[in-house]
């Protein structure tokens, strides 16, 4: 087990190093002079030079990279060019919206997908199964930002149950803040719930055809008992992997959804960074999100290995 974890840890570090190099290259080298890029075409050369100095762009490429990475390791992301405050401050202000939104959506997605998938698998080929699968087919095809607009139209504009956007802040109380995140979380969760329900169903069906289920049935358990007592726990393993993967989709998907609902989270921050050419902000948020995704993938791998000893032995 220790060997497996250390192997995964090496691969995690390698992924992070390569990701940081990639992000560094895309942002720093390809567009030419980042300082000129940030200030626009008609910028004063002196201002560009001053910004170059401030950004440390006159140092060599490798030293710039290492300065950036050592800064990251110490939690120093640099100073935002437009906001004139440390990027770490901006990020910590915004992450308290993005992260709860992601988890909220993940919980919703699981709460919808599990009953739907289990129901469809237990009633295989029935009208109920076909209907659930049809709905998931539709759920996968719906762009989440469009679904978000429909939710606003129905629940904010017509029924006036929720506000159409904005965030009151956690200091206004837990429930008002969660209420503001509810429609965005539903919009984010729907497509993921559809995928998860399909995975849950097929995983359960695979497990139900295993020999040990037949043995359980031979012992006198009915189909429902065999499903709940034996099949479900084993079917959960691939489902957990997908839930881990969905974390990344939800975190990144939040970027667009936050814009639909005017939520001041990391997604809005990235977009403001892009439109204001504040590449330090963009770079920092991107590496942070990539780190989060890679770390979650790592944790899922470990959880998977704990649950399934066969994985630790050899093949990946």
């Amino acid at each position: 087990m220790l060997r497996y974890i250390s192997k995964r840890l090496v691969s995690l570090s390698a992924s992070l190093i390569v990701a940081s190099i990639l992000i560094f290259i895309v942002i720093e080298i390809i567009p030419g002079d980042p300082a000129a890029f940030m200030l626009g075409i008609n910028a004063d050369p002196d201002a560009v030079e001053a910004l170059r100095e401030q950004l440390g762009l006159n140092a060599s490429l490798t030293s710039r990279y290492f300065t950036w990475v050592t800064g990251l390791l110490q939690g120093e992301f640099g100073i935002s060019y437009t906001y004139r405050v440390p990027v770490s401050e901006l990020i910590s202000d915004r992450i308290v919206i993005s992260l709860p939104l992601t988890f909220y959506a993940l919980v919703l997605s699981t709460l919808i997908a599990f009953p739907a998938g289990i129901y469809a698998a237990s009633k295989r080929n029935s009208l109920g199964d076909v209907s659930v699968m049809g709905l998931t087919q539709l759920g996968v095809a719906i762009p989440n930002f469009w679904f978000a607009m429909l939710l606003v139209l129905v629940f904010s504009i017509n029924l006036r149950w929720f506000s159409a956007g904005g965030f009151p802040g956690w200091d206004q109380g837990f429930f008002p803040a969660m209420k503001a995140l509810t429609l965005p979380a539903i919009a984010l969760a729907l497509p993921q719930a559809s995928i998860l329900a399909r995975v849950m169903r097929s995983s359960l069906l695979d497990t139900l055809s295993e020999d040990y289920i037949r043995t359980a049935r031979a012992k006198g358990l009915n189909r429902r008992q065999a499903l709940w007592r034996h099949a479900l726990r084993n079917a959960l393993i691939p489902v957990l992997t997908i839930i881990g993967l969905q974390f990344s989709f939800l975190l990144a998907g939040g970027i667009i959804i936050e814009n639909v609902f005017y939520l001041p989270g990391l997604g809005r921050l990235v977009f403001q960074g892009i439109t204001q050419r504040d590449l330090i902000v963009v770079r920092s948020v991107v590496i942070l999100l990539v780190f989060a995704v890679i770390a979650v993938t790592f944790l899922v791998d470990i959880a998977y290995a704990i649950a399934d000893p066969r994985l630790r032995e050899g093949s990946r």
């Binding site: 080929n125 087919q137 539709l138 930002f145």
Partner: protein, 287 residues
């Protein structure tokens, strides 16, 4: 016993599946046709502004209504179909052209350093939140259809590389491949002549699925302003325009939204149907 049905699809399911394929192919054909026809004819000029006609609901003159500039929605949807499909199609092409050779090469050098590097590189692209990298690419290189293609296409590369590697690995164990090796054929030639034709079905099915994902991704990028630029209409940007007007003119959001849903649904149904039709095991059950 209900277990008996597990290995064999029921008749109901097979009919539903082939119906799904027919519906999917029909929907896809409609939107492909709309895109193609838009090159020679649209009801109105899709970029023509006519303020006196603004925010008209669907009528005989404007089948899908008009937008806040009085532009004909049907014409915009038709021209938008062209953009969406072209972006998604080329992005799938990028994925196949780059991913399949990589996957086949990795499979032919199984377990080697090159195989390891290719597969780890693929893992890395998978680990990146795709939307995020797409946004970063279009932010740095500027918004537009070409950069959207690159941004979406990059993520198709590992999908096709992994798929073709996995399929090729199992084929390399077959007798006829061994026979080809004994005859002295190079690994590259075997990959091209024997492996590739045998994985074409898989590639077609995956291509259909990636095509639908490409359409969703393009719509997302266009919605946040990083896709095709005005005056070229695009489904995603039509939705962005509709957002502030949704309470007074819901059709502005419903028309492009439903178009995206139906296109993606059509492609997914077609992909699922193709998978079943091209899967020899299922075909045997059917006949």
């Amino acid at each position: 016993m209900s277990e008996q049905t597990i290995s064999q699809p029921s008749t109901l399911q097979l009919i539903l599946r082939s119906n799904g394929f027919l519906i999917g192919a029909g929907l896809t054909a409609i939107f492909v046709l709309a895109a193609l026809v838009s090159f020679i004819w649209t009801p109105y000029d899709a970029t023509q502004i006519s303020i006196s006609d603004k925010l008209k609901t669907p009528s005989a003159a404007h089948w899908l209504g008009t937008d806040h500039f009085g532009r004909d929605m049907l014409s915009m949807i038709m021209v938008g179909a062209r953009v969406s499909m072209a972006v998604a199609f080329v992005a799938v092409g990028v994925g196949i052209l780059a991913g399949v050779p990589l996957g086949l090469y990795a499979a032919s050098k199984r377990g080697g350093l090159i195989d390891e590097i290719i597969m780890r590189g693929n893992d890395l692209i998978f680990a990146f939140p795709s939307l995020l990298l797409a946004i970063m690419i279009t932010a740095v290189f500027g918004p537009g259809a070409v950069n959207a293609i690159i941004a979406i296409g990059i993520f198709n590369i590992p999908v096709f590389a992994r798929l073709s590697r996995g399929a090729a690995l199992s084929l390399w164990q077959r007798e006829y491949i061994m026979a080809a090796q004994v005859c002295g054929k190079s690994k590259a030639l075997i990959s091209l002549e024997h492996i590739l034709p045998n994985i074409t079905n898989l590639l077609i099915v995956q291509g259909t699925i990636q095509f639908s994902l490409g359409i969703l991704a393009e719509a997302g990028l266009a919605y946040v302003g990083l896709g095709a630029q005005p005056p070229l209409p695009s489904w995603g940007r039509m939705l962005n325009d509709a957002q502030t007007l949704i309470s007074i003119a819901p059709h502005l959001a419903l028309v492009p939204g439903l178009t995206i849903v139906l296109t993606v649904l059509g492609l997914n149904l077609m992909g699922d149907g193709l998978r079943d039709l091209l899967d020899p095991k299922l075909r045997r059950v059917k006949s």
